[in-house]
């Protein structure tokens, strides 16, 4: 037989045909094998589109556009996200009276909100925010239930979970497992909801097959943190609250697909992060369940949060504990990238400007710590080892409610101060390895407050560990971000209690208060 066949002697179009059959990951490997293949891949629009799609953590959609057009739009989309400038906005309909802020859950381009002020006419609305760029129309699905904040969305699994709000007389509170596309019962969802209780439920997070929620029964008003499988109906973990040690704060989320963690501070003991593995013998709800509560697999003391620290009063975490939520719309639903960001404050000391300290703990670090110390243990770890702190300047005191939200590999958090003067944005771009912490100060001009200028600056502190090697190859994000002009005008109303913002695929959704005090929800699109 003839000698070895060298593929590089082939004409370009054969090689292109082979490359066309590969996916993004293999193309990335392939391009580093030799110059010829690298050039071929770089020169092909279709292949470049595949790679950039992977890089943006998105999936291909439209079949009607050609690759060149799709690549162009993808780049515009990505650039727009990075420059964060606004084009225009659409006002989303509210279900109820505009004098109430809407209760919303958002994931990707979907917003779920609910009206619960009129018990006789409960309604919830699932809404698809339109996108001019990607040609997505606005769509609605109405559900005849009121759920308040109690809804979870998971785009990746086409799953909508909500638990209707019920009065104590109205029987068991059951979860609804629906599809996002049709609103029908989810075909994979269990028919048996193991957490149906006479009581209230607070759905916290979805991670794959598991749902984390907090349940309070009307029988004894005990709180249970429950992890259950929404496909099989099996309870994987139950934690009950010891009523004699009521927490000052409690914050629970998934750490990964087999662990949850709880950040907890109690009046008589130091604050700590406790990690629990699933797979305990499930406990019955009610009764004496709290006597045999599951024990944590790991426990991390947070010395700075200890209420007994000399010279300090009780630190408050109640609203300052944030976490990038298990975003359903995450294309890379990768928990390795998650960050726990704690905000500590010491209010009520009589000081003019209480100090805030932000501590970011990459959960990756927390998890590798657990892997390295598999036995059940307590650890007291100095922050320097796994978290970084940023002390926020005085003058940003009394920050009001804030909402963390995520989309894909990116996260923005918006905070604003009670006096309407300060606005804080965290802009985290996990993928590109960029982290910015923005501090904004509203300038007061002659005619009252004017623009808000927000400077997103690289925050070396929080970038460490979270973004690893990517960060070394890419420059940090330094951007001037201006909040949409409309929004900044609204912000002059010093009485705004909540300044909620949600990240969606093409921009941000702001819940604003207009001059008369009514609430308006607007979806803002970036410049494309």
């Amino acid at each position: 037989m003839a000698a070895y066949v060298h593929i590089l002697r082939f004409p370009d179009d054969i090689l292109q045909e082979i490359l066309e059959s590969l996916e993004g990951e293999s193309l990335l490997t392939c391009r580093v094998t030799c110059r010829r293949l690298d050039t071929l891949i770089s020169d092909s629009v279709r292949l470049q589109y595949k790679i950039e799609l992977l890089a943006c953590g998105m999936v291909d959609g439209s079949q009607t556009l050609d690759a060149a057009e799709k690549l162009k739009r993808l780049r515009l989309y990505d650039a727009a996200w990075r420059s964060l400038e606004w084009t225009g906005h659409t006002t989303l309909p509210h279900l109820e009276d505009r004098w109430f802020p809407p209760s919303m859950a958002a994931a990707g381009a979907l917003v779920f909100h609910s009206a619960d002020t009129f018990p006789n006419d409960p309604r919830s609305l699932l809404q698809q925010v339109s996108s001019k760029l990607r040609g997505i129309p606005e769509q609605h699905l109405m559900f005849p239930v009121a759920v308040g904040h109690n809804a979870l969305l998971d785009n990746a699994q086409d799953l909508l979970v909500f638990a209707p709000k019920l009065s104590p007389q109205s029987g068991l509170c059951r979860c609804h497992l629906r599809t996002l596309s049709t609103g029908e019962a989810h075909p994979l969802g269990t028919l048996l909801d193991p957490c149906s209780v006479m009581g209230s439920r607070n759905l916290i997070e979805i991670c794959g097959d598991h749902i984390l929620e907090a349940v309070c029964t009307y029988r004894d008003f005990f709180y249970y943190q429950i992890v259950w499988n929404w496909k099989t109906g099996r309870i994987e973990l139950t934690l009950s609250d010891d009523p004699s040690h009521r927490s000052v704060l409690q914050y629970t989320r998934f750490l990964d697909s087999t662990h949850i963690f709880i950040v907890e501070a109690k009046f008589d003991s130091p604050a700590c992060i406790q990690v629990y593995a699933f797979g305990h013998a499930p406990l019955e709800l009610g009764g004496a369940a709290h006597d045999v509560a599951a024990t944590p697999s790991h426990s991390f003391l947070l010395p700075e949060l200890s209420p007994r620290a000399p010279g300090m009063v009780q630190p408050s975490l109640a609203h300052g504990c944030s976490h990038s939520s298990a975003d359903a719309s995450c294309f890379h639903s990768d928990f390795a990238e998650r960050l726990l960001s704690l905000r500590l404050s010491w209010p009520g000391t009589g000081l003019e400007d209480p100090t805030f300290i932000f501590i970011d703990i990459p959960l990756k670090t927390l998890r590798s710590y657990i892997a390295a110390h598999p036995t059940r243990a307590s650890h007291a770890i100095p922050w320097g080892e796994w978290g970084q702190r940023t002390r926020v300047a005085r003058g940003y005191a009394r920050l009001g409610d804030w909402e963390p939200f995520t989309y894909g590999m990116r996260r923005i958090e918006v905070q604003r101060s009670d006096n309407g003067e300060g606005l804080m944005l965290h802009v985290l771009d996990y993928h590109a390895g960029r982290v910015g912490r923005a501090l904004a100060r509203q300038r007061h001009g002659a005619e009252g407050a004017e623009d808000v200028e927000v400077i997103v600056s690289p925050s070396d502190a929080s970038a460490d560990g979270m973004v690893d090697g990517l960060r070394t190859t890419l420059p940090c994000l330094v951007k001037h971000l201006s909040v949409p002009p409309e929004v900044s005008r609204r912000m002059t109303n010093a009485n705004t209690q909540a300044f909620n913002a949600y990240l969606c695929e093409d921009g941000l959704i702001f819940v604003e208060q207009d001059a008369s005090g009514g609430f308006v929800t607007r979806a803002w699109e970036y410049t494309f």
Binding site: I7, C34, C56
Partner: protein, 173 residues
């Protein structure tokens, strides 16, 4: 220069309306095949059009061995009379070719053979076969490491060490 062989212009009896073609492989094997079978090949079709225009028929010389040629003829015989979308120059969709089970079995050959088939298919302009071969080659390298890929493809690392250590900026968009 192609050897001019005089071919009877009339229809061969007993073979329907299909005429015969004489293909000559690089190892100088003469293979007679029905024109109908080879009509999937754009290259052959164009040759035949040339014959029609000049009323001159001659043998078609091909730059690959009879071993490969027979394999291609086997492929064409299998799909004789089938319409394959990728072979239609007006309707061929861009991108990946569809998976056909028979092709996968047919192309279950060693690497060198596979590369020869794709080269022959490309020469003969049989898009469907090129697509199927490309898919089979892609399957061989999918999920492999850089080194493994180099070995399978038979390519040399011709990057300078600096280039190798700085990831291409394009890959992150």
């Amino acid at each position: 220069m192609p050897t001019i062989v005089s071919v009877d212009d009339s229809t061969v009896p007993g073979e329907g309306s299909s005429r015969l073609l004489l293909l000559v492989s690089s190892d100088n094997k003469h293979i007679v095949v029905e024109e109908d079978i080879m009509s999937r090949s754009r290259f052959i079709s164009k040759q035949v059009e040339g014959f029609e225009a000049t009323s001159q028929r001659h043998a078609i010389l091909l730059p690959f061995s009879s071993f490969v040629l027979n394999k291609v003829i086997e492929y064409c015989s299998h799909y004789r009379g089938y319409y394959l979308l990728e072979d239609d120059p007006d309707a061929a969709p861009p991108g990946r070719s569809p998976v056909r089970e028979w092709d996968q079995e047919f192309l279950d050959v060693d690497r060198n053979m596979l590369l020869r088939i794709i080269k022959a298919a490309h020469y003969l302009e049989i898009k469907s076969l090129v697509g199927s071969c490309a898919r089979a080659i892609a399957d061989m390298i999918r999920g492999k490491t850089t080194e493994e890929m180099r070995e399978i493809l038979g390519v040399e690392n011709d990057f300078t060490p600096e280039e190798e250590h700085s990831p291409s900026s394009k890959c992150t968009g």
